[in-house]
């Protein structure tokens, strides 16, 4: 047995678990049922419901927050415990409106389930009800306080996982409990009721609106029908919906989702997606995944004329331009076209990522990257983010960053040129370093300086780092005890005498310290040295996430070297964030080309002949909710997705077949993904898509990582000539927008606009002209309330706007902005 493993007995069943694990989680992992309402895995226990009461070694404890100790003996139910639980459920049922008949949660409601499970068949308690009215918390959230049981799950997930902290408990102004009940009622039920009578859920913001990320995680965790999406309210019973397990196709997190479908209407019996749900104990979605589901290419048919043209176009084509919102199978087909027909494959964003990944792999001597986001979330207590606008680029990396602060009592360093007040608010140990764009190399040198043991570093690097350490003096205020001599006159004798007393005095003192000029060069906050000391004090598990800013950086290769260097000389584990949904898959499967001339086929991109899943091309393609296939996500996992909606047009595989290169079905390509890149020769139908009760992910398979011979290298000094000053634009999408497909969804409202901080907006009008090199764009101005600083954000989610090339694949650019 592992030294940090414990053995406990639950209802006589031997269970082995990690030390410090909660009893509830151990029971769940071993298939033992303990009722629990307020607990969410991966979040902190709140003890709001108290129904998870069990007996451990004869003492009453709450299973969701009692940690297992070796040899513990747990009983999950006894007459007394059941009595207590029944009373708790009874209390929840008081004044709960009898409207299961219309409630959206009916059939999957935990209040219904536990009321039945615990056999509450009569009501013993009563209290006057108070007026509670429905409101909308945001453009997507609908709250019916009448149904709310104040389990606080919504508050918990928003704080511990999402990080917006947009919900809290507020006053209910309910009637006071009869004091006598304290004696006569089971005590946990009384305590719970007492609290229940006093609270309801309100947005943390005084405006009564959440002004949040609109991720909808709060809706998904709500055990009753209190929090529901505004779009879904009263449109369908849960049991009428067919759940299609799939993978979200909007970003590289590749979250597991369920598309829930049912016929569109009585007259139109074709399926429609009504909502997206998730296994919220193990997966947390963002607003794009949850609300951006209706992007299907509907009404496509097999247009033979266009198909013939397509075949001609493919025979003629010199290049295929595509993006990374495609499946691995499609990527493999494109690669096969390259091999057989010699076309060039153009995908600039995946190309940049591919070269960066290749460099990084070469220098570190292993394929892919060492960091694993799941392990990070559960184990790391110090996280560094570089090169990514964490709030926008990848919601799940942001959740990881946040969860580390909240659950692992960790710390976080956030290097980025764009100010973000949400990231700052994630924890008191989060320190943002808002540096000038172009200084990313310095940021990595600072990381080296902070985390590497100096003696192991090559001399040159060591000297270089030390050249930044300057002795400096600073004035500190100190309280010292000072001898004060006073003359006191003795009242009785009239004699005066001198008495010496100690008195505190604040003095200013000059002290010497070592100033780190690297930190100040990057614009780290005042007194960074001390702040860092505090941050790192309790940390022992370090991780770092690297974003898209680095991939097409003019100094990308040196950045890759520096990262490999950091991995070699520090204990930091590094993980890359692939820029788009399947960038990692495309980077592994396709040999991408830099440039191409001549006749081009565009797949969801511009081209002479356009294949499009948006329905606006020369030949229709299925959208990703109409296709089976796999993605390679940032967790280095190959995950399957399924078709939720039917599609009657041609697929890429049909074109392949017509060219004599096809398989019978698209998913026959799954087993043909390149094994030398870490894929496995497994057929699509052999891939699972689920989680075990213990939270273990059984989705597809993990890519195999292979050791390679590390290339010798020397890191270069930073090149300051790429520093950007003046008016700067950052290529970055608003939250919930990732691509043309999210934009298509009717519940994603974020417009294509220039996003600026509130302060910056004061200096701009409603509409501005943005000049990037010699191209000028007219964009409306939108305030991003969580942005700070002067940099502006230009989105690139609409491929037709051709924003990506304007930034030369990079993300920062000097621009001229003028009011229109």
């Amino acid at each position: 047995m592992n030294p940090n493993e414990v053995k406990i007995k639950i209802d006589g069943v031997e269970c082995v678990a990690k030390e410090g694990e909660y009893i509830l989680n151990i029971a769940r992992a071993n298939g033992i049922f303990i009722p629990a309402i307020c607990y969410i895995s991966r979040c902190s226990p709140t003890l709001a419901c108290r129904i998870c009461l069990v007996e451990a070694d004869g003492k009453r404890v709450y299973a969701c927050n009692a940690k297992a100790k070796d040899g513990m003996d747990v009983t999950t139910s006894s007459e007394e415990i059941l009595e207590e639980r029944r009373a708790i459920m009874g209390v929840y049922d008081i004044n709960h409106p009898l409207q299961c008949g219309v409630c959206d949660q009916s059939g999957e409601c935990e209040l219904q389930n536990y009321t039945l499970e615990l056999g509450v068949d009569s009501q013993n308690y009563t209290i006057a009800d108070c007026k509670r009215e429905s409101t909308n918390f945001s453009s997507v959230l609908h709250y019916d306080p009448g149904l709310c049981i104040v389990c606080e799950r919504c508050v918990t997930i928003c704080k511990d996982m999402v990080g917006d902290n947009a919900l809290s408990t507020g006053p209910r102004n309910g009637a006071e409990l009869d004091k006598e009940l304290k004696e006569s009622m089971p005590k946990d039920a009384y305590a719970m009721w007492n609290k229940l009578q006093k609270s309801l859920i309100v947005p943390s913001d005084e405006s009564g609106q959440t002004n949040c990320s609109d991720c909808g995680e709060c809706l998904s965790v709500c055990p009753v029908g209190a929090l529901v999406s505004r779009d879904f309210v009263y449109t369908s019973n849960a049991w009428e919906l067919k759940r299609v397990p799939a993978t979200c196709s909007h970003c590289s997190s590749g979250c597991q989702i369920f598309y829930e479908t049912k016929p569109t209407s009585i007259s139109d019996r074709s399926d429609k997606i009504y909502r997206v749900t998730n296994e919220w104990n193990y997966v947390s979605l963002c607003g794009a995944g949850r609300f951006g589901y209706d992007f299907e290419n509907s009404g496509a048919t097999k247009d033979e004329k266009q198909f013939t043209k397509a075949i001609k176009a493919f025979k003629e084509a010199k290049a295929i331009r595509f993006n990374s919102t495609i499946t691995n199978e499609e990527a493999a087909m494109l690669q096969s076209l390259k091999k057989e027909l010699g076309v060039k494959l153009i995908n600039p964003e995946a190309k940049a990522f591919q070269s960066f990944l290749k460099d990084f792999e070469n220098y570190r001597g292993e394929s892919l990257y060492s960091g694993n986001y799941k392990e990070m979330m559960s184990e790391s207590n110090f996280i560094i983010s570089v090169g990514s606008a964490l709030r926008h680029d990848n919601p799940n990396v942001r959740y990881t960053f946040n969860n580390i602060q909240k659950l692992n009592k960790g710390a976080g360093l956030y290097f980025h040129p764009v100010g973000d007040t949400l990231i700052e608010s994630l924890g008191k140990n989060v320190t943002p370093i808002y540096h000038t764009p172009g200084l990313e190399e310095y940021a990595l040198y600072l990381v080296l300086d902070l985390f590497a043991s100096k003696d192991e570093l090559p001399k040159e690097t060591k000297n270089y780092l030390e050249s930044f350490h300057k002795k400096a003096t600073k004035t500190v205020q100190e309280t010292i005890m000072e001898d004060v001599t006073e003359t006191v006159v003795d009242e009785e004798t009239g004699e005066s005498k001198e008495v010496t007393k100690k008195k505190p005095k604040v003095v200013e003192k000059e002290v010497e310290y070592v100033a780190n000029e690297l930190a100040s060069l990057l614009g780290a906050p005042e007194g960074f040295g001390d702040i860092f000391e505090k941050m790192v004090a309790k940390a022992d598990n370090f991780s770092m996430v690297v974003g898209e800013d680095f991939y097409a950086h003019p100094r990308a290769e040196n950045l890759a070297k520096l990262l490999a260097f950091i991995e070699q000389y520090t204990a930091i584990k590094i993980a890359l964030i692939p820029p788009k949904t399947n960038s990692l898959g495309v980077a592994l499967i396709c040999d991408l080309d830099e440039k191409a001339d001549g006749y081009t086929i565009g797949y969801n991109e511009a081209g002479d002949f356009r294949l499009s899943a948006l329905g606006d091309g020369d030949l229709d393609m299925p959208a990703l909710n109409q296709q089976e296939g796999t993605f390679t996500n940032m967790h280095k996992r190959v995950v399957p997705t399924n078709a939720a909606l039917s599609y009657n047009g041609y697929e890429l595989n049909d074109i392949m077949s017509a060219l004599g290169l096809g398989e019978q079905l698209s998913i026959d390509w799954t087993s043909k993904l390149p094994t030398r890149k870490g894929f496995e020769a497994l057929s699509f139908d052999a891939l699972p898509n689920g989680f075990t009760n213990a939270g273990e992910e059984l989705r597809g398979y993990m890519l195999k990582q292979k050791a390679t011979k590390a290339k010798a290298f020397e890191v270069e000094k930073p090149d300051e000539s790429y520093k950007l000053e003046g008016e700067i634009a950052y290529r970055c999408n608003p939250q919930r927008q990732f691509n043309d497909f999210t934009n298509r969804a009717h519940q994603i409202f974020e417009p294509f606009a220039l996003y600026v901080s509130e302060a910056k907006a004061q200096t701009l009008g409603k509409k501005v002209k943005v000049e990037i090199d010699d191209v000028s764009l007219e964009l409306p101005v939108e305030i991003d309330a969580k942005m700070s600083g002067d940099v502006v954000k230009v989105p690139d989610f609409l491929s037709s706007k051709e924003i990506y090339p304007l930034f030369n694949a990079g993300r920062f650019k000097q621009v001229k902005i003028s009011e229109v």
């Binding site: 299961c100 008949g101 219309v102 009916s106 068949d121 009569s122 009501q123 013993n124 308690y125 009563t126 209290i127 006057a128 429905s134 009637a175 309210v233 009263y234 449109t235 369908s236 019973n237 049991w239 009428e240 016929p263 209407s265 009585i266």
Partner: protein, 198 residues
């Protein structure tokens, strides 16, 4: 013969061999006492109908039999007597329980924050008139009516919500349903009351 089959041979008497024997058997089987009883009943009833005006025949379609409450014909959708609003709350239980999967409905969140039943239909081409929907309905909204004449140019003629709903001007004539799904006269006795002491 297979040993295991164990056929039992019946003694049916001999098969008549000659035509004469066959004729004799026909006569014997035909002229039994039951024939004359039957004839007597017919003549008696004919006499009653013709001369005494006592008939057992309903003159359909001019005359219709009363339908007992438990008869299950085309559904009715009832209204609340007080407000006239339809009773159906859109809970979807009938849709779920329907054994032939022939009920479909659409609901939405309306302006008064209520669940509105925007469309409701029963496909009578598939309905087997089992009565489950009426039995499960918590609101006594869907019930079986007495409309058994279902010949029509189109099946769709009586399958929409409006077709089944009590016409608002005939609300007064709406009768409480006593068939499947109606509460029993002793239902009150089985209910535990919730305390409302305040």
């Amino acid at each position: 013969m297979n040993e295991k089959q164990k056929y039992i041979m019946l003694d049916l008497g001999g098969t008549p061999l000659t035509p004469w024997c066959r004729f004799k058997r026909v006569v014997k089987r035909t002229f039994r006492i039951e024939l004359f009883i039957g004839l007597w009943v017919t003549i008696r009833e004919m006499f009653k109908t013709l001369f005494m005006g006592k008939s057992h025949t309903t003159k359909y379609p001019f005359e219709k039999m009363p339908i007992p409450p438990r008869y299950r014909a085309i559904h009715d959708m009832l209204r609340l007597l007080e407000s006239g609003h339809y009773r159906c709350i859109g809970c979807g239980l009938c849709e779920k329980i329907c054994i032939s999967n022939c009920i479909a409905m659409e609901t939405r969140y309306d302006e008064n924050q209520r669940k509105e039943v925007s469309e409701y239909t029963i496909n009578f081409g598939r309905c087997i008139f089992c009565g489950y929907c009426a039995e499960v309905c918590p609101e006594l909204a869907i019930v079986h009516g007495a409309r058994y004449e279902t010949a029509s140019e189109q099946r769709a003629s009586f399958s929409l919500f409006e077709d089944m709903l009590t016409p608002i001007d005939r609300l007064k004539e709406q009768e409480e349903f006593a068939g499947y799904g109606a509460p029993t006269p002793w239902a009150d006795k089985n209910i535990k009351k919730t305390p409302l002491a305040y």
